[in-house]
């Protein structure tokens, strides 16, 4: 979605403040409302989700780990259901769930001296080394080959994944209860010590999200060389920071591209500020008022844009049009650098429905022209999918990554039993 920061969308700080001031249920509802209205979107989703989950852990009543996991899972599925176009929400929920499991198992291990590995760790190992247990229900995307599927199998995966996420699954077939049974032994462990531990962990996740952009920017001068012509597609906050950091070390030229008419009010302001900063560092900026990018690509050295989500196959969910940039770069054998914190890495497969998300068409067709409104079936796509073969470097807060290393990163950050968390029948 094009980052048009409209004035009525609350800023991150305001949002967090208002959520804090309300009772838990009210703040969850308020957040879901904002998600549905797309007033919270893009990079803000991750932070906001972490804030909400922190409140869930802090404010809700729970007596054992099972209950806490259930609470987080059910709130998580509601959030994911409210914004299926923002898979990053699911990532954060999974991170928090994994965090709770880790803390709980630590507590338990500390208590009884068996020192045996928790079930979840075993699960994780199984996930990394081999196919998951057959008992696992539909969304077992980790087992899927990381290739771009044909249209038919895309359809199949679609019907399996996002839109069935919230449907009620036979409790007996849900493996998660079974997987987490060992934890119930730890139920009697002191939950008093668990709560602050988990809250600290969420705080760490928040820090990671907030610092990701700066950490990514830290790699800027490795990627950008003096004299480069860098194409920045719809520069997001991450890309802005990356470019400014690079500008402090290097002399290069930035070519901006925006999908819309560059003279439209919202885009102009954001761009102008960035251009000013870059100019101050002596970096040339050129803005391309263009849709197609093949024409300019022979001049360009590398393409930089930020990913909304990195799927487990290496594909990206991006702002509409970035795939045109990536494709043009590939046609000219120019490197494509996708920026995104590790928290954007998603243990799911891309869904066609999400990538074809369409948006407001009024900027393109005047509703005053009845004939045109009548004649046009406008499809203004706002989110787009970049297939993995078009991406050369995934630049994360942990440094540059390649497609072949993604599975290891995912295994490091998510517990296998949380991948399909939103299948748990919640208190919706």
């Amino acid at each position: 979605m094009a980052p048009t920061h409209t004035s009525h969308a609350p800023s991150m700080e305001k949002l967090v403040k208002s959520l804090k001031g309300q009772p838990l249920e009210a703040s969850i509802d308020a957040f879901i409302y904002l998600l549905k209205r797309r007033q919270v979107k893009g990079d803000d989703c991750a932070g906001a989700t972490a804030h909400i989950l922190r409140q869930v852990v802090a404010k809700s009543k729970w007596h054992d780990v099972e209950q806490l996991l259930f609470k987080v899972q059910s709130v998580g599925s509601r959030l994911v259901g409210a914004a299926p176009h923002e898979p990053v929400i699911g990532n954060i929920v999974r991170r928090v769930l994994g965090l709770i499991r880790d803390e709980a198992s630590e507590e338990r291990n500390a208590e009884d001296e068996f020192g045996s590995e928790s079930a979840s760790d075993i699960q994780t190992l199984a996930q990394v080394t081999g196919p998951p247990p057959a008992a696992r229900p539909a969304p077992t995307p980790l087992a899927r080959p990381p290739t771009l599927a044909t249209a038919a199998s895309f359809h199949a995966s679609k019907s399996k994944s996002m839109f069935n996420l919230l449907s009620v699954v036979d409790a007996a077939s849900a493996p998660l209860t079974a997987a987490s049974t060992p934890l119930s032994q730890a139920a009697h462990t002191s939950i008093n010590s668990l709560r602050p531990e988990v809250l600290d962990g969420i705080e760490e996740i928040l820090d990671e999200i907030n610092q990701a952009d700066d950490q990514i920017a830290g790699f800027a001068d490795i990627q950008i060389h003096p004299g480069d012509y860098v194409l920045a597609y719809l520069p997001s906050r991450t890309v802005e920071r990356f470019l400014i950091k690079a500008a402090s070390r290097r002399k290069f030229t930035v070519l901006f591209v925006s999908l819309e008419d560059s003279r439209s009010a919202a885009g102009e302001g954001a761009h102008a500020a960035l251009r000013k900063k870059l100019d101050a560092h002596g970096v040339n900026t050129i803005s391309l008022a263009s849709n197609g990018l093949m024409a300019y690509m022979s001049r360009i050295n590398k393409v930089v844009f930020s990913a909304k989500v990195v799927y487990q196959n290496g594909g990206l969910l991006v702002d509409s049009g970035a795939s045109v940039a990536a494709q043009a770069a590939k046609a000219h054998s120019k490197p494509v650098i996708a920026l995104g914190g590790v928290y954007k890495f998603c243990p799911e497969d891309p869904s066609d429905e999400i990538a074809g998300e369409t948006g407001d068409s009024s900027t393109y067709v005047s509703y005053a022209d009845g004939l045109k409104v009548d004649a046009l079936e406008v499809e203004n796509t706002v989110a787009d999918y970049v297939p993995p073969e078009l991406v050369d470097v995934y630049l994360t807060n942990l440094g540059p990554q390649t497609r072949h290393h993604l599975a290891a990163i995912l295994a490091d950050h998510y517990k296998a039993e949380d991948v399909g968390f939103s299948l748990i029948p919640g208190e919706v």
Binding site: E260, N291, G292, A295, L376, N380
Partner: protein, 467 residues
């Protein structure tokens, strides 16, 4: 009447009073009045004739000197002075009379349009200002510019003036429309042309009449390849006339050639291409196109006429929005249309489409297709998805000399989108590996030849019927 009557008496008393003070002023009225009577007094016409005779004498002298110089040191462009000499008689002005040897040597341009040399610098300054914001690395790319009619060369025919303005403002935009308008305007130029005494059309027309028109049009907007091709053929036709071909016969021949040209290369070509391309659309197809191109539009309408049941998916250029017009006209014909306002949904659109029809502005000798910016992105996406990409193009748009491998070799900057903080290229270049076939008016059997076969096509075009 009343005002005239009052002003006349006022003028008469003024004249005598002015007479003694300014002899120059008084010289004229008496001259006209006493012309039949006084032999010492010359009429302006006589004065002119006398000046001309003197000038001619000087000129002949200069020529002799020059010929001597030429014998000593070889001079470039030998035909220049010859043509100039003829022309000079017609319209030299007094300033030229002082023409010394180096002056005549420096050139036809200075000699035949003194007004031009006067205004050139100002134009250049204006141009610099407008172009100063174009980044260095794109600064070689030309841009159309509006030239006030008052600044145009006085030799430019009014019909050409109008066409130039229309091109500069993009009222006439695509290659074939520009070609058509140019040819029609040239037709008027030829009709209005009268060979000056002592000249022949085959020697005089091109350098003194046609070239200023072409220069003006090029200044308004860089020529498109079809115009270049047509003008080359037109000049060849003029050169093919004998020096003593009667003017009427030559003019008739040129007009006939232009008519034939427009019929064959524009009207007929359009008909044949749309007919052949329409044959490649089948029931149930979803045909993807980019922007609005005349040939593609004709093809869709033709296919509908043939009773094919298909849908069209239009990807538009948000800076041009021609696709909206196309969408309207297709809807009127009853063709279902999907409309994407930008390239954002490209992947989705390409995967849904069964085949892709793109209109080309020109085709280079290496098979690269020159078309509206964004076309290459569509072609690449389609080829990567395994869809067939067909380009439609008249052979008049084929350039057999120029080769382009990237879009920065031959391009134009969009004057509309040009501002201090951004710019836009009008065209891009699609390499031949992304084009499965080009449909032209030749190859009537299949109507589809690979872009690589371009040179073979051009050889076919060396058809004696045209030249």
């Amino acid at each position: 009447m009343a005002t005239e009557g009052s002003s006349a008496p006022a003028a008469t008393p003024a004249a005598p009073s002015a007479a003694p003070t300014t002899p120059a002023n008084t010289a004229n009225p008496p001259a006209t009045a006493t012309a039949p009577a006084g032999t010492p007094q010359l009429t302006p016409a006589q004065l002119k004739a006398k000046a001309k005779a003197e000038k001619q004498a000087r000129r002949a002298q200069a020529k002799e000197v020059k010929a001597a110089a030429a014998a000593a040191a070889p001079q470039p462009a030998p035909p220049g002075p010859d043509a100039k000499g003829g022309k000079g008689k017609g319209k030299q002005d007094a300033a030229q009379a002082g023409g010394t040897q180096p002056r005549t040597g420096t050139g036809p341009n200075l000699a035949h349009r003194p007004s031009m040399s006067g205004r050139r610098p100002s134009i250049l300054v204006v141009e610099k200002d407008m172009r100063s914001s174009i980044p260095e690395c794109f600064s070689h790319i030309p841009m159309a510019k509006r030239i006030p009619i008052s600044q145009a060369n006085k030799d430019v025919h009014p019909a050409v003036l109008v066409v130039g303005q229309q091109m500069a403002t993009f009222a006439i935009k695509d290659s074939i429309s520009r070609l058509g308008a140019t040819l029609l305007a040239f037709r008027k130029v030829i009709e209005a042309y009268e060979t000056p005494k002592g000249n022949s059309l085959s020697r005089h027309f091109v350098p003194h009449v046609l070239n200023p028109q072409i220069e003006y049009l090029t200044e308004c907007r860089p020529m498109c390849f079809s115009m270049g091709n047509a003008i080359r053929l037109l000049k060849a036709k003029v050169n093919s006339f004998d020096i003593d071909t009667p003017e009427d016969e030559a003019k008739e021949g040129l007009l006939e050639m232009i008519d034939l040209f427009m019929n064959e290369r524009i009207t007929l070509a359009e008909f044949v291409i749309s007919k052949n391309a329409a044959k490649q659309i089948y029931d149930g197809d979803i045909v993807l196109t980019y922007g609005r191109h005349r040939l593609v539009e004709k093809t869709f309408l033709k296919a509908k006429e043939n009773g094919v049941d298909f849908a069209v998916s239009i990807i538009d250029d948000p800076y041009d929005r021609g696709g909206q017009e196309l969408s309207k006209s297709l809807k009127e014909a009853g063709i279902p249309v999907y409309y994407s306002p930008n390239l954002g949904g490209l992947r989705h659109n390409v995967r849904r489409a069964t085949n892709i029809l793109l209109g080309a502005e020109a085709v280079f000798a290496n098979g690269s297709v020159h078309a509206a910016a964004g076309t290459a992105d569509v072609a690449v996406a389609a080829t990567n998805t395994g869809k067939k990409v067909t380009a439609l193009c008249e052979t008049i748009n084929f350039d057999r000399e120029r080769v382009s491998v990237d879009a920065l070799t031959y391009n134009e900057i969009d004057p509309e989108q040009h501002s201090s903080d951004g710019f836009r290229l009008l065209f891009d270049t699609t390499r031949d590996q992304y084009i499965a076939g080009v449909i032209t008016e030749f190859e009537s059997g299949t109507g589809n030849s690979p872009a690589q076969a371009i040179l073979a096509l051009l050889r076919k075009q060396e058809d004696p019927t045209i030249n």
